[in-house]
Symmetry: D2
Subunit: 264 residues, 4 copies
Amino acid sequence: MRKVGELLLGGCARMWKSVHRASSGVARRDPLANKMALVTGSTDGIGFAIARRLAQDGAHVVVSSRKQQNVDRAVAALQGEGLSVTGTVCHVGKSEDRERLVATAVNLHGGIDILVSNAAVSPFFGDIMDVTEEMWDKILDVNVKAPALLTKAVVPEMEKRGGGSVVIVSSIAAYIPLPDLGPYSVSKTALVGLTKSLALELAKRNIRVNCLAPGLIKTASSQKISRLGKPEDCAGIVSFLCSEDASYITGETVVVGGGTPSHL
Amino acid sequence: MRKVGELLLGGCARMWKSVHRASSGVARRDPLANKMALVTGSTDGIGFAIARRLAQDGAHVVVSSRKQQNVDRAVAALQGEGLSVTGTVCHVGKSEDRERLVATAVNLHGGIDILVSNAAVSPFFGDIMDVTEEMWDKILDVNVKAPALLTKAVVPEMEKRGGGSVVIVSSIAAYIPLPDLGPYSVSKTALVGLTKSLALELAKRNIRVNCLAPGLIKTASSQKISRLGKPEDCAGIVSFLCSEDASYITGETVVVGGGTPSHL
Amino acid sequence: MRKVGELLLGGCARMWKSVHRASSGVARRDPLANKMALVTGSTDGIGFAIARRLAQDGAHVVVSSRKQQNVDRAVAALQGEGLSVTGTVCHVGKSEDRERLVATAVNLHGGIDILVSNAAVSPFFGDIMDVTEEMWDKILDVNVKAPALLTKAVVPEMEKRGGGSVVIVSSIAAYIPLPDLGPYSVSKTALVGLTKSLALELAKRNIRVNCLAPGLIKTASSQKISRLGKPEDCAGIVSFLCSEDASYITGETVVVGGGTPSHL
Amino acid sequence: MRKVGELLLGGCARMWKSVHRASSGVARRDPLANKMALVTGSTDGIGFAIARRLAQDGAHVVVSSRKQQNVDRAVAALQGEGLSVTGTVCHVGKSEDRERLVATAVNLHGGIDILVSNAAVSPFFGDIMDVTEEMWDKILDVNVKAPALLTKAVVPEMEKRGGGSVVIVSSIAAYIPLPDLGPYSVSKTALVGLTKSLALELAKRNIRVNCLAPGLIKTASSQKISRLGKPEDCAGIVSFLCSEDASYITGETVVVGGGTPSHL
């Protein structure tokens, strides 16, 4: 038996002398400076908090959702905070909307570095025996197919800029299905797989793909949770995953659940 | 069937109006300002990069490892960068060393907010049939028992300050065992469980516990990895997990592996 | 601290005196005696091996796939072995076909106790950037929606008989996405979620739902695999999962991969 | 894009013509005929049910636990059922006991084909802050180190017979830590890693290693569980994993938890 030092094992260990200053200094003060970010489903809730945070961290952000008035309101609110934010209406389930969204972002900002896919259909709440083929179609279309196709549409723009970062918003339901939310849970599980698959396929294009799995507000496991989650709890990790600091993290899902049991 | 809005489901969704500014502004510029951090196994490699980053992000850091000269060198290097760093010798497998480490940190900085447990025994490289009882003892002692007991020793100090954050450094080997590194891999798997268990037990004390699983330098899966990891790749995520931004993330393991296959 | 005996902890521990003979004797000799089983995608490969095994273990089996000649051939082969097997054509992606399949099974055998969902679309092999919306539609329709809807169609028949067992065939690709097989991999990941979700929803109807994840023929990890898999390697576990012996196993995915790295 | 048939993808798919009869016929009637099995912690509860089942399925079984009277009682009970069972006292945490156990089994039956490692220390129930170094030592010694070393001791005997099968009994606590059972949970998580590691190392010796994770008797998730588990619920799967039917399953953990949330 022979010993192997941390050099071989630690994954990324080196002599202390070789430690770079890559992540120190100005870059970290505005970790997303000059980045162009597209966030879907971002005029409210988690998506809004993410868009806001990306802008606070230096990115130019395009927010979007299905209704013009919601887009207008979100843009006004964020611009009112002095953030670089514009907006456009987009139903991610529609091919032409996705194309227009990408074109708008490129026109406004000259390219796309970051995509956060948060748009999802409002889930139906009911016994799995009541779920119709139409419900399955809708939820798989918007929650699974749309993120895949939107990522595909964005990839060429990211390639032009030498790479990029995609974050897909899933849910703790991906790991532990929620009662009476079968198709929603299944679609969120699929997104964990989509993240892994896209990360594998897009690595050669220098595009990282990660996933966020927000927890729940209340469950039987709430005893283990110190407090309920807030939209901002999801925003910091997304900004982090989109920054240089996360440049060696891809294909992963980070659970933001306050200790909710998830995968090991 | 009835619809449930993102309010119920999104985990942390709320009206955009209620979005707090919790994570904006000065706090994020120096996310660990005035925090007192203890990092074991931190005079080299990943641990050193983590200690450095925590200090860059505003923390007062105590570095430690088994040899005085390594501690001296690391402290000199980090102080030379203008960082608030001190150091002390500590063999985490020894009860008296752990106690002295905690006492030193408390004396120097008045308390402990952050513990990063990185110290680990140099693994033996060999067929599982060559692993002796003594090797098992040593690796379980230092890699599993010591982090558990060091955390236990630190908890009362964190409680005095109203809470804290623990990050345990595991390895991708926790998920995919490395050939000829059986006991090392098993010890790293145990740390994923220890993280979950500590997170559950310490939530009521407002202490979060998360885990880092650095990837490997080269494996059969290197085709999927855009580049090899560096110590700094592990530093940003640890600082993030110790910051307010991660206040709803506990019990989780984040893989920093460049796309290495891990758990789903 | 107090000790808790295996009675509390072991999950199912009891005094040895109370050990039942539930699984001994005749039942185990023909573990699926008098059970009515429906297996889709079963005229070839894994599905055929499963159908054959269920019949050898005592079940009356209805095989099906998209082409009449394949059904005829499989039925002839299995009947030639003295097995109780009939067959019908079914394209699981078509609502009317699913209904006819269930009706046929009920007419032939008076009910359904077991459903093995193996039918899947032939995957497209190519870069994720070449995947069209039509390909996503097809693969999600047949691989995800169809198993969900077929299970829904079968549930009332199982309820009439007091319960039942569903096994969904996924793939190791559910856990580790295969290069150039993105949508296939995503659909197989979704099936792991579907299994969890159906198990949760159908427990109250005394229906168990489990999943099979067959491994690959050759991969970089083949060094760890003693040999390549055969269809029969997948058949025994399915018969087991459908038997009384597995009456406390539901919502689980069993990987049949010869040691291929999968989830922890 | 080109299609790939199930031949490439299905993991083990082949033309129906090539389907072997490997698992049909007599072998399956007595799937463990002439196998020599060693089961630790088997005079009560889950271990007893497993020992009984292996014997019912044709194996010659050596039961063991720490007390002679428990061994005597279990042997008498099983012999009274006409099963081929002998017994010996063994404290698996003691090196000499492990060696004697292996020697006894070899003397009695001429070799060992199957090892089921079930012995575990009675867990301490209490807050993680009350766990002493001695408790950690004891639980890691008996629950983690002993299975590793016992497997090591058995491997040469299995090699003489051309291979073998090891099943390690873990717990659902491996995945979701139990409150106030920290060290127990951590030790059970470690066993999932040990299973993966041993499977990897022992594949070249034609020895498969799998893991069983029994669920709990009652938890907050009991709503999802149709009934409470019994020892026999754990016995069938162990016999299956030790049989030829499972010859392509290694490194896996099967949860027997009635739908308890576990890993995805």
